[in-house]
């Protein structure tokens, strides 16, 4: 092998650039979507007197919430997939969101006047427990890449959900539970959503820990072998997922399938290079949530369809298409 | 005899099997050998009609495996893959008894019971015959599955790496059993083997598979040559005289 071909091969193998022009293009598109989000709405901000105040109180927070929750849930999905080495898992298919819901319910029942921070705290704690339970199950499953894993996760979620339902039924909170749980950006306004900013920490942390999380995902033996503290990484990963899921569930509600579709679509087009995929995962998460929210706001205007419904339908279609596409191959 | 004509299977643009044209003679043991990922298991699975092919056809004793009904084929050929799903609350004897299903449909006659006993004894499972499968070690379970497949009493028996979970002593005994099954009962046994030396000692024919195609086919005497083996396995191999036949030294 001559040195020139060796060098050529080496160049080809180097990691994709973190920032390139396509990413910039994606950023522009998403910014455009966000601008659309800022301008769509029933209230005509340009012509009325307090239009600017309306803008600041609802539109901006809503759009910011879109950005934060979209990125957070997409990242959580990615972290989960890294840790389980399974492409089908994400917080809504492992019971994590159901646990968060149970936590929320528990807090609302025992502390009816709970502030948003207290509610979040409860949701996060429960989400953490739930994710740990799921990982405990995973240790029993020897075939990590199996489709069995998400099936187990969903069964787990169903169990927790039945507990929540029982509790809610007994305490007469069932319909409210449905309302809180349904992800929607309708009620986002200034003064209420600020807690979402915490997820920025999660996003940054994912960037920092991405490689280590991948190694942890390959199993305890592999991780320990390369000097990684396996349990600590799993705890950190779980913590990140729990925080993101707990906070988003309390402020926005359940955003189904987001963590599932986004990392998979990104991997489908760009391969599995984690580092350079991360900004795309974030962007695509934001983009999809924004589009769904825009649809929800305009389709039966002046009423709104909650984003979780749109996401649920679109997510289901995309997921099914993903599975079924291979049959045409 | 087994005939493969123009068999091809494409997984994606990089990985493909074929085209394969091969004739495996009836009687005796034929070993499929080759490096990892060569396609030996895939070929075996296609012959055993567990996997479809893209083009070509495979005939086992004049029966086309793609068109003949599965339940007729079950009396002519049997196949055992490497990984086997097993259920709880199933004893060894019950598992081996399933081997009679193509003939009895699940209702075992006294004659069936005799046949079952015969193969359980043949593989030294007599003391274990009433144990549940999940109370056995991997190697013992392996033998139970082989017993089931032998109990099917088909002319052609296909085994995918049957020695995988067995230690040296049990591997030797298994190959001895297979050889006597081939001789005593006149079966044609096709085994995928990782260890070329077992092939050399026990097989009547060796078929070397590399990168999805057949690169060599012949008796052990013809195949066990330095240059041929080195080429097949991509590593220097030296063939030396052993106490019972030719041995490949590559360590």
């Amino acid at each position: 092998m001559t040195t020139s071909t060796a060098a050529a091969r080496r160049d080809a193998r180097t990691r994709k650039k973190l920032f390139d022009w396509k990413l910039l293009l994606g950023l522009v598109v998403v910014l455009g979507l966000l601008a659309a989000s800022l301008s769509v709405g029933e209230y005509d901000i340009l012509s009325t007197d307090d239009g600017w105040e309306m803008f600041a109180t609802t539109r901006i927070p809503r759009t910011v919430a879109l950005v934060l929750s979209g990125a957070a849930m997409a990242m959580s999905g990615l972290v989960m997939q890294l840790l389980t080495q399974n492409r089908f898992v994400e917080p809504t298919t492992t019971g994590t969101t159901e646990w968060a819901g149970l936590g929320l319910l528990a807090v609302m029942y025992f502390i009816p006047a709970a502030t948003i921070l207290e509610r979040m705290f409860g949701a996060v704690i429960f989400a953490f427990i739930g994710t740990m339970v799921f990982f405990m199950f995973l240790r029993r499953v020897s075939l990590r890449s199996s489709l069995i894993v998400p099936i187990i996760g969903i069964m787990l979620g169903a169990v927790v959900s039945s507990i929540s339902t029982f509790f809610a039924l007994q305490t007469d909170m069932l319909q409210s539970l449905g309302v809180w749980f349904a992800g929607s950006f309708t009620d986002i306004f200034r003064g209420q959503y600020e807690a979402l900013w915490i997820v920025v920490i999660v996003v940054i942390a994912v960037f920092l820990f991405a490689d280590r999380l991948t190694v942890a995902g390959m199993g305890e033996e592999v991780a320990t072998n390369v000097g990684l503290n396996y349990n600590r990484m799993v705890l950190i990963g779980t913590g990140l997922i729990a925080i993101a899921t707990g906070i988003v569930t309390v402020v926005v509600g359940n955003l189904p399938f987001l963590g599932l579709i986004v990392p998979n679509i990104v991997s489908m087009f760009r391969g599995d290079d984690l580092r350079s995929n991360l900004p795309w995962v974030g962007l695509l998460g934001i983009g999809i949530v924004t589009v769904c929210d825009l649809i929800g706001r305009t389709i039966i205007s002046p009423f709104e369809v909650p984003v979780s419904v749109i996401l649920g339908i679109i997510g289901a279609i995309v997921f099914v298409t993903l599975i079924v596409r291979q049959r045409r191959g | 005899m087994i005939t493969l004509t123009n068999v091809r299977k494409e997984y994606n643009s990089d990985v493909a099997i074929g085209p394969v044209n091969l004739e495996i003679p009836a009687g005796g043991i034929t070993a499929l050998v080759g490096p990892n990922g060569a396609g030996k298991s895939t070929l075996l699975t296609m012959i055993g009609r567990l996997l479809g092919m893209d083009t070509g056809d495979i005939k086992v004793a004049q029966y086309d495996v793609s068109t003949t009904k599965s339940k007729d084929l079950a009396k002519i050929l049997s196949i055992l893959r490497q990984e086997n799903h097993f259920i709880t609350k199933l004893t060894v004897r019950q598992l081996v008894g399933f081997g009679r299903f193509p003939y009895s449909g699940g209702r075992l006659t006294a004659e069936d019971e005799d046949i079952i006993s015969r193969y359980i004894d043949f593989l030294h499972l007599t003391d274990l015959e009433d144990r549940y499968l999940d109370q056995l070690s991997g190697g013992q379970r392996q033998r139970a599955y082989v017993a089931m497949v032998l109990c099917q009493e088909t002319d052609y028996v296909l085994l995918d790496e049957p020695l995988n979970n067995l230690d040296i002593a049990h591997s030797v005994e298994m190959m001895k059993h297979l050889r006597s099954a081939a001789k005593e009962f006149g079966r044609t046994i096709i085994v995928v083997l990782h260890d070329i030396n077992f092939a050399s000692q026990y097989a009547d024919y060796i078929c070397a598979v590399k990168a999805g195609t057949i690169v060599e086919f012949g008796t052990p005497y013809e195949i066990m040559r330095d240059d041929i083996l080195t080429d097949i396995f991509n590593t220097p191999v030296q063939v030396i005289e052993g106490p019972n036949g030719l041995i490949a030294a590559y360590h």
């Binding site: 499953v141 029982f166 069932l174 489908m268 339908i313 | 699940g106 019971e113």
Partner: protein
């Protein structure tokens, strides 16, 4: 990365090597038995008369089965009678007594139907999917039921829901559920890339999507409409309308008998696709026909009383333990018996001892769900 192959890789690698035994293989006992043979013993034979393979491990195990089945059946009948006679204000044996008992009998019949449906469907489903951690409920039957009822209330109000209790509605529900599952099976289980797990996931996801839509509609209901809907959305034998029995019962009988007659083939299916094909079974045809029968049973049960997600799982798990055999000829009856015992017992205790009628199904869900968690965590193998 070839994006056209992405999904194929994604799904293929998840069923790599055809391995469906996903739980840890070696049990702790295995090491013990390894030492059983340090050397190969000479051919050992026993007198021919002793060596037979029955459905059970030994004669003692067979006896145990029949005793347990008798007990299960006995207690089931006891609870059934209790449901009919306990707290019956009329003197025993009088005409009015039997009138009241007849009305109660409707509920008991519903329990029997649901028990048989859920038990047989779950055992068969777990066999066909080679997976003992799931239940056919997650395939979307319940989501469809919820969606149908929610949209009825949404569009036609509470009145509409009450008026919809007709035989036609029942039949429409049945047709929808069975029809849609047929589409699912033919879509994903036929053709070259048939994949059982993919089908399961798709069923689950579609169920999830329907659930989203239902939840949305539910939040638009008035609280009183919501309450009426909720009563229907939780499985309860009080939802069952005896007018449906002439259709439901024959369907259940036919489906159950067909499944029972296929027991021997189901025993082989349990060994996995490759072994079953090796032994001459037409795996695909058998899997699909079994799934169709399962759909019929699940549709009848769900349309009759509503969702009962974990009952089938609970009953099947108990049946595997108590029956102590692999043979479906014995598993089906034991499962059905346990199912009836659980339902009748739960309703009897809740009605007459705790006076907490409304929550029976939820309690069963909780118990079933907890059994699920317990079994997985503890045993690692079902």
């Amino acid at each position: 990365m070839d994006k056209n192959r992405y999904v194929e890789n994604m799904v293929d690698e998840s069923t790599a090597g055809g391995v469906e035994n996903y739980l840890r293989e070696e049990s702790e006992d295995a090491a013990r038995f390894e030492r059983v043979e340090e050397t190969w013993p000479d051919h050992a034979t026993r007198p021919p008369a002793e060596r037979r393979s029955g459905a059970f491990q030994s004669a003692a195990a067979a006896r145990k089965y029949w005793i347990i089945l008798a007990l299960v059946g006995g207690f089931g009948l006891l609870f059934a009678f209790g449901l009919l006679a306990w707290d019956n204000p009329m003197p025993f044996g009088s005409e009015t007594f039997w009138l009241i008992a007849e009305r109660r009998a409707d509920a008991v019949i519903a329990m029997l139907v649901v028990a048989v449906c859920q038990a047989v469907a779950t055992v068969a489903f777990q066999t066909v999917t080679n997976n003992r951690i799931i239940t056919p409920s997650i395939m979307g039957f319940e989501s469809l039921y919820t969606a149908i009822h929610t949209s009825t209330v949404y569009f036609f109000g509470a009145v509409g829901l009450i008026n919809a209790r007709t035989l036609t509605t029942f039949l429409v529900q049945l047709a929808l559920m069975v029809g849609l599952s047929l589409i699912l099976y033919s879509w994903l289980l036929t053709g070259r890339h048939a994949n059982m797990h993919a089908m399961l996931l798709v069923g689950i996801v579609i169920g999830g999507g329907l659930g989203s839509v239902s939840t949305f509609m539910q939040r638009m209901l008035t609280p009183s409409e919501f309450d009426i809907l909720t009563a229907r959305l939780f499985g309860s034998v009080n939802n069952a309308d005896p007018a449906y029995y002439p259709i439901a019962i024959p369907l259940v009988i036919v489906a159950t008998v067909l499944l029972y007659l296929n027991s021997r083939k189901l025993n082989i299916i349990a060994l996995g696709r490759d072994t079953a094909t090796n032994l001459g079974l037409n795996y695909k045809a058998l899997a699909i026909s079994t799934l169709v029968l399962i759909s019929v049973l699940m549709a009848v049960s769900t349309a009759l009383v509503g969702p009962m997600t974990f009952l089938g799982f609970l009953v099947a798990t108990l049946a595997y333990q108590f029956a102590d055999t692999y043979d479906h000829r014995y598993l089906f009856p034991m499962a059905a018996g346990i199912g009836f015992l659980v339902l009748a017992g739960a309703y009897f205790i809740m009605n007459h001892i705790f006076y907490a009628q409304g929550v029976v199904s939820i309690i069963i869900e909780l118990v079933g769900g907890s059994v699920f968690l317990f079994v997985i965590l503890r045993k690692g193998r079902l």
